[in-house]
């Protein structure tokens, strides 16, 4: 287990448009990811997350850089690597007219399974991902949530030693998204495999990931544990209060779990650590003033990047 799940050095990638214009998408990405990790890639649209995950999963090749997956050189061991990893993408697509079971069988065959082992594995993932009811349903008739689950199930077919998930909860309603996150954590725990995922969702990143990399315009601009990043960046939930009266800002700053305060006349924005249950003590500080409005805003990527840009 000493090998890194991913060991990338100086990965560069550019795409050529039809008109021959070159656009650089990844700039000199170096990253080491442990086998014990759930690792998250965060970044705004077009920052290069999908490209990076696709390179790591040997779906596409980088222009430059060295890449080792599970300790093997990506180029010279591509087939061994492909048989030992798998990938599921959020907005995943499968042949439309194949049922859940047929799709799984088809991909199991592509991974070289056969006979009893094939049938057994297909049944196993159908059970594990609660797809039994939909076994005979065609892909085109599945809901977005079920498509996602099928995609995750497909990613487990070859009992991978490493899985990649590109926006695994994209387009899911909050409840199903939560369920999916639990499923991902379950996979990581039970199968003891590293998971590398991309997401737009801060909460998801926080809930799932041991470490995060923020990618922006093809570069890693921050890399650490969620907690460390939040502290580093003073990120947390924002409590925005409009009030009339005199408020002791200094008092607020002293409260535990308060990361930052932005005050202006009649309005204060208090950035608090979400994990710290301190709302009560904060609100008490407002006893002497008249509150006009309270909003609580979850930290989002926007905040992260505003912070990172400083």
């Amino acid at each position: 287990m000493s090998e890194k799940a991913v060991d990338a050095q100086g990965i560069c990638k550019s795409y050529k448009s039809i008109h021959g214009k070159q656009s650089i998408v990844l700039k000199n990405i170096s990253l080491k990811i442990d086998q014990s990790e759930i690792f998250g890639l965060l970044g705004p649209n077009g920052s290069g997350k999908t490209t990076l995950i696709s390179i790591f999963s040997t779906l596409i090749w980088p222009d430059r850089g060295s890449l080792r997956i599970l300790g093997m050189d990506a180029k010279s061991n591509k087939e061994t690597i492909r048989s030992q990893i798998n990938i599921s993408t959020g907005k995943s697509n499968f042949p439309w007219s194949l049922t859940v079971q047929e799709n799984l069988k088809h991909y199991a065959m592509l991974y070289g399974m056969h006979g009893q082992q094939l049938a057994g594995t297909v049944d196993e993932v159908i059970n594990a991902f609660e797809l039994e009811e939909y076994r005979e349903m065609k892909f085109e008739d599945l809901s977005t949530g079920l498509k996602q689950r099928l995609s995750l199930a497909k990613a487990m077919l070859n009992r991978p030693k490493l899985i990649f998930l590109d926006e695994p909860t994209a387009g899911l309603d909050p409840e199903i998204a939560l369920k999916t996150r639990k499923l991902i954590r379950g996979i990581h725990k039970e199968q003891e495999i590293p998971v590398i995922l991309s997401t737009h969702n801060m909460l998801e990143a926080e809930m799932l990931c041991d470490r995060l990399a923020f990618i922006r315009k093809g570069k890693i601009v921050a890399l650490d544990t969620p907690d460390a990043l939040k502290h580093q960046l003073k990120l947390g939930e924002k409590v925005i209060v409009h009030y009339v009266g005199k408020l002791e800002i200094k008092e607020l700053e002293k409260l535990p779990g308060v990361l930052n305060i932005i005050a202006s006349p009649g309005k204060v924005e208090i950035v608090v650590d979400r994990t710290n249950e301190n709302l009560d003590s904060i609100i008490k500080k407002f006893a002497e003033v008249r509150i006009l409005d309270i909003k609580i805003k979850e930290p989002d990527l926007e905040d992260v990047f505003i912070e990172l840009a400083r």
Partner: protein, 261 residues
């Protein structure tokens, strides 16, 4: 990997094509409607023109070859076309499969479908136009079909390469290539009637030789089957090498990703 596992990598493509075809009404058109229309129109034309037995056999062999070719080549191309249409190409190319798994897998299904079409058409020819394809025995039929299927594979591979190189719109190639083959390989006329430059091209198409060979069973004449076989095998090998390279290239250019969006 065990041989059964390796075999299943091939069969995966055939399995997928089979299920999709089975649920697609268009399959019935591909298998029955178009081949029937084409055979009947050619057959009836020979009746109208009061052509002699040899001429009738010449044209019917051409019509049947073309129908079988079209069905089989589209099956080979379907291995990528279906993935492209359903935007699932990513899933195929993250799996440990190679060009030859995809091509030969789908070709297996193409051969099955092609054989079905062949059987239907041959039966019809016998009953409607009194022409027996099996007159020369089974061996010439098998050699002829092997030729048609290998040309179908080469066309299918070419379509796959075009998709990976030029993207979505390249599937037009699927429909136009067999048209060109029809023009130059002597489906409905001996290639000697072609203008000189086209005749040169015709001599490079293996189907030309397989047609000449099979027709020589019914119409005594010379043929160069060996050249046809050598050409067919060379093109197949070349096609597979180029397909493998176009996959690698599509991984470089990002086309594989773009086709999944």
């Amino acid at each position: 990997m065990s041989w059964q596992g390796e075999l299943n990598k091939y069969l995966a493509g055939a399995y997928k094509n089979w299920i999709i075809s089975k649920r697609n009404v268009f399959t019935l058109f591909e298998l029955f409607f178009w081949p029937l229309i084409s055979l009947l129109s050619i057959g009836l034309m020979t009746t109208f023109l009061r052509l002699g037995e040899q001429m009738v056999s010449f044209l019917l062999v051409g019509a049947v070859a073309l129908s079988v070719l079209q069905v089989a080549q589209i099956d080979v191309a379907y291995v990528l076309l279906f993935d492209m249409w359903s935007k699932s190409i990513k899933n195929t190319f993250t799996a440990p499969v190679r060009s030859y798994h995809l091509i030969f897998g789908s070709l297996i299904f193409g051969i099955v479908r092609g054989t079905v079409v062949f059987t239907i058409l041959v039966t019809l020819c016998y009953f409607f136009f009194g022409f027996n394809f099996l007159e020369g025995g089974l061996i010439p039929v098998l050699i002829f079909l092997a030729g048609v299927f290998s040309v179908a594979a080469v066309i299918g591979i070419t379509v796959c390469i075009s998709i990976l190189t030029f993207g979505q719109k390249a599937d037009v190639a699927a429909w136009s290539l067999s048209g060109i083959i029809m023009l130059v390989s002597g489906i409905y006329y001996p290639i000697e009637v072609l203008p000189a430059p086209l005749e040169v091209i015709a001599r490079l198409v293996p189907l030309t030789y397989f047609l000449e060979y099979y027709r020589s069973v019914f119409i005594p004449g010379q043929h160069n089957l060996a050249i046809g076989i050598i050409l067919a095998i060379s093109y197949l090998i070349l096609g597979l090498v180029l397909f493998e390279r176009s996959i690698e290239k599509a991984r470089m250019t990002g086309m594989i990703l773009r086709l999944s969006e």
